[in-house]
Amino acid sequence: MIGLDLLYLVGGAFFAAMALLSGADKENARRWGNALFWGLLSVSFLLGSYLSDLINGLIVIALALLAGFGAMGQGRPATTSPQERRESAGRLGAKLFIPALAIPVVTLAGTFLFKAWTVNGQHVVDPKQATLVSLVLGILTGLALAVAMIRPRPLVPLQEGRRLLDAVGWAALLPQVLAALGAVFAAAGVGQIIGHLAGSSLSDGGPLVAVVAYTVGMAVFTVIMGNAFAAFPVMTAGIGLPLIVGKYGGDPAIMAAIGMLSGFCGTLMTPMAANFNLVPAVLLELKDRYGVIKAQIPTALLLLTANTVLMYVFVY
C-alpha cells in the first residue's frame, strides 16, 4: 500500500539533494550550515520512524540551534534575468500555466479516485493519506510537464527549488515545529488550565456576557495556540456548554459553528499559525515578517464582532 512511508522516502531524497547542492555552493559563505540543516531534516524524513523519540527530539533542538544562531545563509543559485523571463514568457505563452494548474487538478482527482481504488479488495493507496499522496503525485506531474516543455539541464529544477527553499530558509520548518508544540501543550494540559481559568472567572454575567466571552475567548485562545481546533474543545467545555447551552438554553449547533469561525478570526491574527501567516510573508519576500497578519487584522476584528452579534441574535 502506498502511504506515508513512501512519501517520507521521497521527501528525504528531496531534502538530501538540497543538502548536497547547498554544500557544493561555494558562493554561499555559510554553505555548511545550510548543508547541515537540510541534511538533518533529510535524516529525520528517511530514518525518523526508526529512531527513538529522544533522538528525534534532539534533532529538533539541533535544527533550532542552527537556525537561531545564524548558521544558515541564503544560497543564490543562478537563474534567468527579468529580460530573459519576459522573452521566455512571450515564447511559451499560456502553455506556462499548464504545469502550475496540473498540480491542483491532479491533487483533487487523486483525492477522490485513490479512496476508491482497490485491487483484490486491498487499497492501493492508504485512504487516510489519499490527499497527501495525490499532492505529491500532482507535484511530480507538474514537474514532468514543466521539464518536457522547458527542457532544462538535469540539475536546474533542483537548483531552482533550492533558490526558493533558501529564500524561505528555516521558516520552512516552522509549521511542523508548531504542530509539535501543540502536542506538548496538550500533554501538559495547557488547554484545561486556560479553560478552567476562563470558566471560573465568569460565573454569571448574563447571556450576552456568555456569548462575548465565548467568541472572544475562542479568538484569543486561538491566537495563543495558533490553531482553532486546539481552542475549540477547551472553550466549548469551559464556557460554551455550561453557560450558553446549559444555563441559558442556547442552540448547540449554532453556538459551535459560529464559535469555530470566531476561532478562525484568531488564526488570521497570530504568528503561531505560521503556514498561513509567516510562510507567505517569506514566500512573497515581504520586508515585514508580520505584513500578512497586519493586512488581516482589520478584517479579523470586524468579522469577530459580526460573529458575536450573529451568535447573540440566533443562538438563544
Binding site: R85, V190, P233, L284
Partner: protein, 241 residues
Amino acid sequence: MSLWPLLGIAVVVVGFVVRFNPLMVVVAAALVTGIAAALSSGVDPLHALTGTLETFGKAFKDNRYITLTWMILPVIGLLERAGLQEKARGLIAGVRGATTGRLLILYLLVRQITAALGLTSLGGHPQMVRPLIAPMAEGAAEARHGQISEKMRETIKAQSAATDNIGLFFGEDIFIAIASILLIKGFLETNGIIVEPLQLSVWAIPTAVLALLIHGVRLWRLDTAIDRAAAANSKTPETAP
C-alpha cells in the same frame, strides 16, 4: 491545578514580540512547558527534560507530512525561471477594467466557493499566490499606473496572501465533510449532543457572506488607496532629470 505550564505561553509571547528567531522561540516554549508541567507534578529534573524531549520529538516526527509540501518548490522555481510570473502579469494587463481590488475580490469569491465545495487544495501560498495571484495583483496596478511604490507593492502582496487565507477559512466550513465540522460533531457527541454536519455547515453561511462583504469592501478601498498613492507619486517633482 498548577499554573506553571502556562510559562511556555509567556515564552512565546515575549519571543515573538522581541522578534527572536521564531524556530528557537517555539522550541524553547515547548521545553519550558513540558519541563514545568513535569516538575510541578513531582518528576525529577532529568526525567522532566528527557520526557519533554521525547514528547516533542515524537510529535515532530508524526507531523513530518506538513513539511512535505515544500517539494512543490522545484516546479514553481522552474516555471518562474521560464517567465510564469511575467506571463501572469502580462495576462492581467491585457484585461480591460482589471484592477488589483477587483481581481482580488474575484479570487476571494472563487476561493470561498471552491472551498465550500470541499476543493480546498485549489489555492494556497506556494502553488497559487506566489506564482499567479500576487504577480497578477501587482500587474493590474502597474498596467494602470506604470511604476508603483515599494510600499504599495508590499501592501498588494500582503493583501494577496490575506485574501487566500480569508477565502479559505470562511468558505471551507460550508463543506460538510471538512475537518473542523467533523471535529465539532465529534466533540458535541462526546458531550451527549447529537448534531448533523449539515446543521453546522448551514450556520457557516452567514459568516461566509459577511467575510465576503467585509474583506471585499477593504479590497475595493485598496484600489482607491493605489490610485491616490499613484497620483501623489506623479505630483512629486523628479529629483533627477
